[in-house]
């Protein structure tokens, strides 16, 4: 676009031809009132509030829909502009109720703010105001549609960003109503953003209803840690409690949107199940004690069981993937100083010999410009909402997206689904690689010679070769594939051959932080699964809830519950099972209550401060680990704050990924079960968030399989499989069951 000069209120400013006028005034800091305009949404020009006077144009024009041209002279403040804006304001206020004192938006309301400047003191409208009955659209968003000014931001957000048009304007004229059509309410995983875009109090946060005024809260920037994006957020606090979370702006990460998971999880912080005091088990009885007593008990126990008799190799450290990078680092440093190499965070992996090693080499922003994406084994929309959002933007710009999944998931973008049984993914990808190599006339490695390329694999190979900028996304459902490591290696090889990128979303939360902090066993140590089988004498656990976190949940519980195994467990929430196997339970800070950092898919190390203090006796885990190390008389733990840990960590050398051997032989005819927690049950804080749990996504508890599989398992409609109600559908591949559950894995696998 050509550079031009325009004049706004007598001031000459630079602009690009064709830009909208409001984009220019916003950049220049010239205030123009608006309700329907939003920089990330299409223009509707329906509220008329941004009228300005343009020289030579007889009538005032909406600046959100007027492209600028060279030499244009605009007046935003002259009599004509002001008079038009005031007139529009008067119209908007005709039907708007004067219920600001009981409206949650009061104090942060765009209508209220603009009315102060442009509104009149007295209304000339003496007729009755329109009233619209509120509709229940789910547990997350409260509606008060009488307050709606029909800006349609929520409607456009739904169809343009969330990719599912759920809200719409029904009726006409005075009877126009913004409402959802479907009776189940709003189901988008990004729905909370409608609250942020609503300029009035028509859509407000339901969990936050009638809690506080915006000016009573302190707003602190933070990082959400429920997925690989690390969305930038503002946590708003009052008297030491997080009261609300709203989205922050960061174009490179989450633009201006956040997922509902990141927005509403704070609710779990005040759950009655929080662990509030250190406890020790004496003669089978739990006793609440002071911190020094509990820590002393832990140190004595560790000394007695492992350290005094040089049994550090019988000590194991296990951590949840939600820990901060600093916590991972400190825990591994503590264990390694004790001479223990047994540590792991990959608790949900069936076979760690087959652990996925795959580097991500494309940034979130760059995802928007791919022209071909292949998603393997992921329900990306629910598992990594912001990554899915970027791919959706790519698709809208013309990219082709294909999914190789065990089930046809509901995507909010145009995607070509191919259901592939888990047992066949490796062979299919080997076929793709073979076809790529053949087309490039490259010599085939031996293991590919006997592979026959299926039609599908030839087609995929062609698409990948024709694409200029492709990406292969490897997702969570592959983690427990019997050939996971081979699949990851094949993805690496294919991407290299077609000069495409790879994106590894197979491990979520702060898993990348764990790798960055060396929280993985070396060859000298045992991995999580080996620890469960070995003769261990003590465990150190960081926010672990075995019934949810482990793939081998029952072996984990068995291993931890063995007689004479001393378990020190740091937890943020109470848990009956922890009480059974642990000997010391130390209450730790949850998300928002600790400082540290999160490593996201861009490999950005995003640090955050503690937004509030942990409740009662709970302490940030890095502090607990530091004091534990001091009491164990280990050197080098003189940290005063978590950023000292981060800077020490930044100086550590980091390993690079290695090649795995590809093995295509193992293949059997048994039915494979892929067990995933519902997107709102992936970590302990989410599992304590009532509003998310009550939403449609949080209620998901289904084992999907096709007719043939159901027959093979002798199941019929209405039965349960591993305790989960079954859903017989032809959208699932052969020989597999896809479970999405909001309950513990135990009883399942």
């Amino acid at each position: 676009m050509a550079d031009i000069k325009i004049e706004i209120d007598g001031q000459i400013v630079n602009a690009k031809a064709g830009e909208t006028l409001i984009a220019v005034t916003d950049r220049e800091g010239i205030s123009v009132p608006r309700f329907c305009y939003h920089k990330k949404l299409s223009t509707s020009a329906s509220c008329r509030m941004c009228l300005v006077d343009i020289e030579g144009v007889p009538k005032p024009q909406t600046s959100c829909s007027t492209p600028v041209s060279d030499g244009m002279k605009i007046y935003t403040q002259n009599e004509k502009a002001k008079a038009s804006q005031k007139a529009v304001m008067e119209f908007l206020l005709i039907n708007h109720p004067l219920d600001c004192p009981i409206c949650d938006q009061g104090g942060e309301c765009e209508l209220q703010d603009v009315a102060v400047e442009y509104g009149s003191d007295v209304s000339r409208f003496s007729e009755g105001k329109r009233v619209v009955a509120a509709s229940d659209i789910g547990p997350l968003i409260q509606t008060d549609m009488t307050r709606c000014i029909h800006c349609t931001r929520c409607v456009r957000f739904g169809s343009e960003i969330a990719g599912m048009m759920e809200m719409g304007g029904t009726g006409r004229g005075e009877d126009l109503k913004i409402e959802p059509f479907l009776t189940q309410g709003i189901t988008s995983e990004l729905s909370g953003n409608m609250i942020d875009v609503c300029p009035v109090g028509a859509l407000t946060s339901k969990p936050f209803r009638y809690e506080l005024r915006s000016w009573q809260m302190a707003s602190v920037d933070s990082i959400a840690r429920h997925d690989l994006t690390g969305s930038n957020i503002y946590a708003q606090t009052y008297k030491g409690q997080v009261k609300r979370v709203v989205s922050g702006d960061n174009e490179a990460v989450n633009e201006t949107w956040i997922s509902d998971r990141d927005r509403f999880s704070y609710e779990g912080l005040s759950h009655k199940n929080r662990l509030l005091a250190p406890q020790i088990k004496v003669a089978g009885q739990w006793k609440e004690v002071e911190w020094d007593v509990a820590l002393d008990f832990a140190v004595k126990g560790l000394n007695k069981h492992v350290l005094n008799n040089r049994k550090a190799h019988q000590l194991g450290g296990l951590a949840s993937n939600t820990a901060t990078t600093e916590e991972f680092y400190l825990m591994q440093k503590l264990l390694r100083e004790l001479g223990c190499e047994n540590l792991d965070y990959r608790l949900n992996v069936n076979n760690l010999e087959q652990a996925i090693v795959l580097a991500s080499n494309i940034k979130l922003e760059a995802l928007e410009s791919v022209d071909y994406a292949m998603v393997i084994g992921s329900n990306l929309r629910l598992e990594q909402p912001m990554i899915n959002h970027r791919l959706r933007k790519a698709q809208l710009a013309g990219a082709e997206i294909c999914a190789l999944n065990v089930k046809e998931f509901d995507y909010n973008l145009k995607i070509s689904h191919t259901t592939v049984a888990p047992q066949e993914i490796a062979t299919l990808l080997a076929g793709v690689l073979k076809s790529v190599l053949e087309k490039k006339a490259v010599e085939l490695p031996e293991y590919l010679e006997h592979i026959s390329s299926s039609e599908l694999s030839i087609e995929l190979a062609e698409k990948l070769l024709n694409a200029e900028n492709s990406v292969i996304v490897l997702g969570e459902h592959i983690v427990n594939n019997a050939q996971a490591a081979s699949i990851a290696q094949l993805v690496t090889d294919i991407a290299e051959q077609v000069t495409g990128s790879t994106l590894n979303v197979s491990m979520t939360s702060n898993s990348l932080g764990a790798q960055y902090a060396h929280f993985v066993p070396t060859s000298a140590g045992m991995n999580a699964n080996e620890m469960l089988q070995a003769d261990m004498r003590a465990f150190l656990l960081l926010d672990v809830y075995p019934e949810y976190d482990f793939h081998h949940a029952s072996s984990a519980i068995e291993a931890l519950s063995k007689e004479d195994v001393f378990v020190v467990s740091l937890n943020s929430f109470n848990n009956d099972l922890t009480a059974e196997y642990a000997d010391v339970i130390l209450p730790m800070a949850a998300m928002y209550e600790t400082s540290g950092s999160h490593v996201n898919i861009n490999n950005d190390i995003q640090s955050f401060k503690a937004v509030v203090q942990a409740p009662e006796e709970a302490k940030p885990a890095w502090k607990i680990l530091k004091v534990l190390a001091d009491l164990l008389e280990l050197p080098g733990f003189h940290y005063e704050n978590s950023s000292q840990i981060s800077s020490e960590l930044a100086h550590q050398p980091h390993e690079h990924s290695h090649d795995s051997a590809i093995d295509l032989t193992s293949k059997d005819d048994t039915v494979e079960t892929i067990w995933m927690h519902s997107a709102y049950h992936t970590d302990v804080l989410l599992r304590h968030t009532a509003a998310l749990g009550a939403s449609q996504i949080g209620q998901t508890h289904l084992a999907s399989m096709n007719v043939a599989t159901a027959e093979a398992l002798a199941l019929k409609s209405g039965d349960v499989y591993l305790g989960v109600p079954i859903d017989i559908t032809d959208t699932v591949a052969d020989q597999c069951v896809f479970v999405s559950s909001n309950q513990a894995t135990i009883g399942g696998l």
Partner: protein, 157 residues
């Protein structure tokens, strides 16, 4: 939900639009489905039309609720579509509507007990020159008076 016959008619309309723009046929599709369902559109039939045209249910509902010709409540065999916009109103449509309601024993939006006639207030039908006016089927009746209304209504079978 949508009969084969209706589908065939809808397909004819879809064919008139560029490929991938099948949702452009939504108005006709709603009309066709309405005609087959006692001149009425239910929530489910709107959703069925939306599904058939591969568009969000709410987008079809926006259209179905915007235009007066789609009925969301039971209607009679004959629908008297009474204009109540400015020209007709200035020429006494309010009183005439009241007269009609008394005569039929129903309010606007309701159906007579025998299911023969329903009355609907509609926006301007573009016949201001003959205000006050109403429409029954494809026929306009203009320069209405109470006597004229009685004659017309008594003639409906």
């Amino acid at each position: 939900m949508i009969s084969d016959n209706a589908k065939k008619q809808i397909d004819d309309w879809i064919a008139k639009y560029p490929q991938g723009r099948q949702s452009s046929a939504v108005m006709e599709a709603l009309k066709i489905v309405q005609a087959e369902n006692a001149n009425q559109l239910s929530h489910d039939s709107i959703q069925a039309v939306a599904d058939y045209l591969n568009m969000p249910g709410i987008a079809a509902a926006e259209v179905a609720t915007f235009y007066e010709n789609y009925n969301h409540q039971p209607v009679g065999k004959h629908i008297i579509r009474f204009c109540h916009n400015i020209s007709c109103m200035l020429n006494g449509s309010d009183d005439l509507i009241a007269h009609l309601e008394t005569k039929l024993g129903v309010k606007t939006g309701e159906v007579t007990k025998d299911g023969l006639i329903s009355v609907k207030k509609v926006e301007c039908l573009g016949a201001c020159v003959g205000a006050p006016m109403f429409q029954i089927g494809d026929q306009y009746y203009e320069n209405l008076t109470t006597d004229k209304i009685d004659d017309i209504v008594d003639g409906l079978k």
